[in-house]
Amino acid sequence: MVSEVQKNTSAILRVERLSMKFGGLIAINDLNFEAKRGAITALIGPNGAGKTTVFNCITGFYKPTEGMLTLTRQNGEEYLLERMADFVITKKAKVARTFQNIRLFSGLTVLENLLVAQHNPLMLSSGFTVLGLLGFPTYRKAAADAIEKARFWLEKINLVDRADDPAGDLPYGAQRRLEIARAMCTEPELLCLDEPAAGLNARESAELNKLLLDIRAETGTSILLIEHDMSVVMEISDHVVVLEYGTKISDGTPDMVKNDPKVIAAYLGVEDEEVVELIEQAEAAGVDDITAAVDLLSTEALHEIVEAHPEAEPVELIPAAAIAEVASSKARSARKPVAKKTQPTATAAAIKAGSTSNALAGPRGGKPDKLILIKGIGPVNERKLNEHGIFHFDQIAAWKKADVIAAETYLAFDGRIAREDWIAQAKKLAKESQVKPAPKKTGGAK
């Protein structure tokens, strides 16, 4: 798999046009970024932004729907990770990972955990068990070396004294460190850490920073990490990639990212109501398991945003659109009716072919009705409806069967419009708004 052209020797991992769909839900949409060799790259973003999904694609646990993941090893070998099975990625491409919810072998001792990680070299030296079983000295030596290596890492993570205790018996912080050490025992060139600082206190978090910097300094391993703890991210990472709803919204040094208005909006601008809305949707989709609903929540969130911003693909290339978007999202969070004025300009071009028959290019008189008054429509759906040219109650009231289907397609609902009887609700509201003008209503809601 040695490549003929090496575009960028300094990048260990290139993620190009990565997309991941679960059924109709888009978890990652056309993601591009690079992780530099020997650097610590952080992947941040709000909950449900698709960070772990990116990890799962890199480490082969998910097969991406589209895109290319190129890993270039120190020796120049290139691997296309999306084509490899998960264990081969660790074995050949030398990518190791940890998990968000720690996955240690809790019934094995700390030492054994580290020995399991050296499975592949030990398998070779034991002649695929045959030589080892017969007691050949090669294996005996290799086994002793493996224990030495484990001891090295145990000293690094300060757990030598507990080497013979079951891993499940360790305190939480130690388990996190052990998982990192275990991943390091596979001798990776790229170490992927999924929220290594989650649940750690300030001191442990500082120790972790030191450990990661140590790892990089001593082994030259490149690190890709997902983190929520900004103190970790800002302190140790060389490069930060910010994801929101499956798309990259920012990419640069920690300082650059910190001051990026889009990032600030992404972190501050999420309304609670949207979350409630998503839970409702999850229920409507027939998910009765709470955890599954939460999973769906994240993926659905991505889906919605992706649907809502079809133009968002190369964000950096269209500054105007991006600015408008930030403005609108800010405005949304502030709940100012003024914001609606920006909507048509940003989205008029985006009215899709799948829109309903009575779509308008913009709200009549510049003032859309407050569609969220209809039970079942939340701010997200309102935005979507607006993008598809639906601004007024009477428009919904006039929907025919085909329109309902069209609307359900872009809202990704099945039968919910009929079930919640939006049309009847809209008729009622349309009538009311004729009696009482709509602006007052929105004013009242404020």
Partner: protein, 302 residues
């Protein structure tokens, strides 16, 4: 064609019995994630109860109308088998709840061995034949297809029970409690559901359906022996897995499928290999549809 239809009817009859037993497996699996290996023997016990009730009626009362006799057999068998199942759950499974996953499996296997041998010890090892209860049948006009009345009884009783059962699970408080325990036992307990009682009731309900299946089996074949729990039990379990274990409609669908496969295989190929066919189809289906026909796919969380 007529032959095919005839065999399909036979298959459906058999499948109904498997379906009734399979519900017991699938409910218990759904709620506590355990393979209740003793369920086949509970079914056998139900058939024995029905047999004894029948003999008692014949000995002490004499000429009881067939419908009444069948009804009495079913009811007594249901009540007593339910009681048995309740006791079994209480003694052998409840103490192990929340412990090691394989422990209840082993007690279930032990219970299966104990039950069949208990019946052997108390009732003797020989087959127990009873005189045919329901005779005759109807021939569909213009064809040679016959439906025996006993087959009709089986299909009708199964249909009625399934309807009642569907109502119980979907429309009653008990059913809701069951479904909530299935989703998250701890949370259900926190919300005030009496989990232990719900689980007990699940066992009782499964056993009652098995008792009816036992009665129908006795009526259909006219003979029962203490070893008769194992094969229908394994077939019913196969049916439950085939349909997607944990799914109630799946259990019925799986039961009918297994019945059909058996009947048609014996009709067209070889009767000796009918069980091989049923098990092979199970293996093949699971290899391509790892969570059964109607089961919820297991999502691997990373």
């Amino acid at each position: 064609m007529e032959y095919f239809i005839q065999q399909s009817i036979n298959g459906l009859t058999l499948g109904s019995i498997y379906g009734l037993i399979a519900i017991g497996y699938t409910m218990v699996y759904g709620i506590i994630g355990m393979i209740n290996f003793a369920h086949g023997d509970v079914f056998m016990l139900g058939a024995f109860m029905a047999m004894i009730v029948f003999l008692a009626l014949a000995t002490f009362i004499g000429g009881v109308p067939v419908v009444l006799a069948l009804l009495l057999m079913m009811i007594v068998a249901m009540l007593l088998t339910g009681l048995w199942s309740w006791t079994i759950e209480r003694l052998a499974y409840r103490p192990l709840r929340g412990s090691f996953r394989l422990a209840p499996l082993i007690t279930a296997i032990g219970m299966s061995i104990a039950l069949s041998n208990f019946v052997q010890v108390t009732q003797g090892p020989r087959n127990k034949p009873i005189p045919p209860l329901v005779n005759g049948g109807i021939t569909i006009y213009g064809t040679s297809i016959t439906i025996a009345y006993k087959q009709m009884v089986i299909i009708i009783v199964t249909a009625i029970l399934l309807a009642a059962f569907w109502y119980l699970v979907n429309k009653t408080t008990l059913g809701r409690a069951q479904r909530s325990c299935e989703q998250d036992r701890k949370m259900a307990a926190l919300l005030g559901v009496d989990v232990d009682r719900t689980i007990s009731m699940t066992f009782v309900m499964g056993a009652m359906l098995a008792a009816v299946a036992g009665t129908l089996y006795l009526m259909f074949y006219g003979v029962i022996s203490f070893t008769d729990g194992f094969v229908p039990g394994v077939k019913a379990f196969t049916a439950a897995v085939l349909g997607g274990i944990g799914s109630l409609p799946g259990a019925v669908v799986g039961g009918l499928l297994i019945g059909l496969i058996e009947a048609l295989w014996s009709a067209y190929f070889s009767i000796d290999y009918k069980d091989v066919a049923a098990f092979s189809i199970l293996a093949i289906v699971l290899i391509f549809l790892p969570s059964g026909i109607l089961g919820r796919p297991e999502v691997e969380k990373v």
